[in-house]
Amino acid sequence: MAVRKTSAFAPDVDTLARAAGLDKALKQFPEDVALAAQSAASARSAAGELDQVAAEPWPPMQVRK
């Protein structure tokens, strides 16, 4: 069962950039910010789907000795 869906809502790049504190970059290098957002979206879509909802992330939590 695929458990990860792509949202139809595409958040505004400017809003996300400002939330990340990239106001200066947005002003000086808007094209670079847009390309960075595109690159993140492309990595997200290439990461593939999980077949188990309860798949353990790696590394699993371990207590420090």
Binding site: R4, V13, L16, A17, A20, G21, L22, D23, K24, A25, Q28, F29, D32, V33, L35, A36, A37, S39, A40, A41, S42, A43, R44, S45, A46, A47, G48, L50, D51, A55, E56, P57, W58, P59
Partner: protein, 477 residues
């Protein structure tokens, strides 16, 4: 002795012992060659002639007195300028870190010194080990000795360039998404990304914590093994360091590959991301060569290359963003354009993306481990195209992601890059040999057998004709 600059580290040890050559003679010969060729190649960010000559004199005195510090005594090793050498700047090839003077040696540099090696200059790289060849940085990009208009690969570009040009017998590289194996491939030398945790990261500026590896680059597999013997070992100060005992990594170099089971990951370069035809042909020939040597070669299926690389990119983007966010917010104009574009990507990923990538990482690593239960090593592509021009931004952007290296940063398996062909344009083509976790011995065994059966490692870039005509002091101190 002629052509001192092409001697390997292993040959140097013998030549020193037999008093056929001295460390001072070697270093002087290398400096002469660097003076002649460096202005065309830009391998170094900083090279202190007096310091390396002083160390060579000390090594010479010790060796003549019968003292042997270790297996690399008197052997020059170039250091990628993202690795700390005490008292020197670690610039990371960036405006941002021009004044970043290292207080202590990185663990790998300490180990090299203990083995008698001579840290020989700081080598150029892609900015912070993630950018690309850039002309808007304080230092020019390194160039490919096989064709100076072409990309030497990165991010350990200076390391690949220096080895292929005969400036050094050994160099250190770092590899987060393939940054040892890409320049090794493009420059026709050997590069090993060891198992994650085998070599300490302490004193190396991080790019992505869970993908970062440090490893040796050389002109032969034997030298790679020799350097790994020195570099590997547990370091309690590196939280990712593996406390696993290891022996002589070159133990099986002479064993050959008869009966060795080789899984040929053909779908990476045939179906997933179709390679340039000359790369495909060279890989086919490499597989046939292993068969001729007695290996049992068969096709083997891993998860799709795009998926492995995609998950790896999530880690790269998210983790490098955590390192660089303060600078990207305050001084974005101090980065090269290409680095800025790559490093800001993590700002657009969420916590869920990262956890999802962690879940996928476990599944994908399990799949690669399962495949390696049926074979001893994997044979697969390195870059899927010969190196493109250094100034062709569109081609750089197209070809850079076309690679089969980052899957093994994601999983942590050891991966060796070595030359397996030459394109019609005269540029090296390279393959990877990948092994089980902490089984570098078998990876190096397979590489050494391939090297013995072929002559790719003896090929040299066409630099000699230009060296005398263009001699003038290099722009390094």
């Amino acid at each position: 002795m002629n052509d001192l600059h092409w001697l390997t580290a292993a040959e140097l040890a013998g030549a020193y012992a037999a008093r056929k050559v001295s460390p001072v003679e070697l270093v002087q010969s290398l400096l002469e060659r660097i003076d002649a060729l460096e202005p065309q190649l830009n391998a170094f960010i900083k090279l202190d002639r007096d310091a390396v000559l002083a160390q060579a004199k000390e090594a010479e005195r010790e060796i003549r007195a019968g003292g042997q510090r270790g297996p690399l005594h008197g052997v020059p090793v170039g250091i990628k300028d993202i690795i700390d050498v005490a008292g020197q700047a670690t610039t990371c090839h960036s405006k941002i870190y021009l004044q970043n003077i290292a207080r202590a040696d990185a663990e790998v540099v300490s180990r090299l010194r203990a083995a008698g090696a001579i840290p020989f200059g700081k080598l150029s790289l892609h900015e912070f080990a993630i950018g690309g060849p850039s002309f808007d940085l304080p230092f020019p990009p390194a160039r490919n000795p096989w064709n100076r208009d072409h990309h030497p690969g990165g991010s350990s570009s200076g390391s690949g360039t220096a080895l292929a040009a005969g400036f050094l017998p050994l160099a250190l590289g770092t590899d987060t998404g393939g940054s040892i194996r890409n320049p090794a491939g493009n420059c026709g030398v050997v590069g090993l990304k060891p198992t994650y945790g085998l070599v300490s990261r302490r004193g190396v500026f991080p790019l992505a914590f869970t993908l970062d590896h440090i490893g040796p680059m050389a002109r032969t597999v034997r030298d790679t093994a020799l350097a790994l013997d020195v570099l590997a070992g547990h370091d309690a100060a590196d939280p990712g360091s593996a406390a696993i005992p290891h022996g002589n990594f070159g133990a099986d170099l002479e064993r050959g590959v008869r009966g060795l089971r080789v899984g040929f990951v053909r779908h990476f370069h045939e179906q997933d991301v179709p390679a340039h035809p000359e790369v495909t042909a060279a890989l086919e020939e490499a597989a046939r060569q292993f068969t001729r040597e007695g290996a049992l070669v068969r096709d083997l299926q891993l998860p799709p290359l795009q998926e492995l690389a995609g998950v790896s990119r999530i880690f790269m983007l998210a983790e490098s963003w955590t390192v660089h966010a303060p600078w990207l917010r305050d001084r974005p104009g101090d980065y090269a354009e290409t680095s800025r574009r790559k490093l800001m990507g993590g700002a657009f990923l969420g916590a869920g993306d990262y956890v999802h990538a962690q879940q996928r990482r476990l599944q994908l690593s399990d799949a690669v481990n399962a495949a390696l239960r049926d074979v001893d090593v994997l044979l697969c592509a390195n870059s899927l195209d010969p190196a493109c021009r250094l100034d062709d931004d569109a081609e750089l952007a197209r070809t850079y992601p076309r690679q089969a290296r980052s899957p093994f940063n994601l999983t942590g398996h050891p991966a060796l890059a070595l030359m397996c062909g030459l394109s019609t344009g005269g540029l090296p083509i390279s393959a990877q040999i990948v092994g089980r976790m902490h089984d570098e011995v078998t990876v190096l065994r397979a590489g050494a057998a391939y090297e013995r059966a072929t002559d790719w490692h003896t090929r040299r870039p066409p630099l000699e004709n230009t060296s005398k005509a263009k001699r003038k002091p290099a722009a390094v101190s």
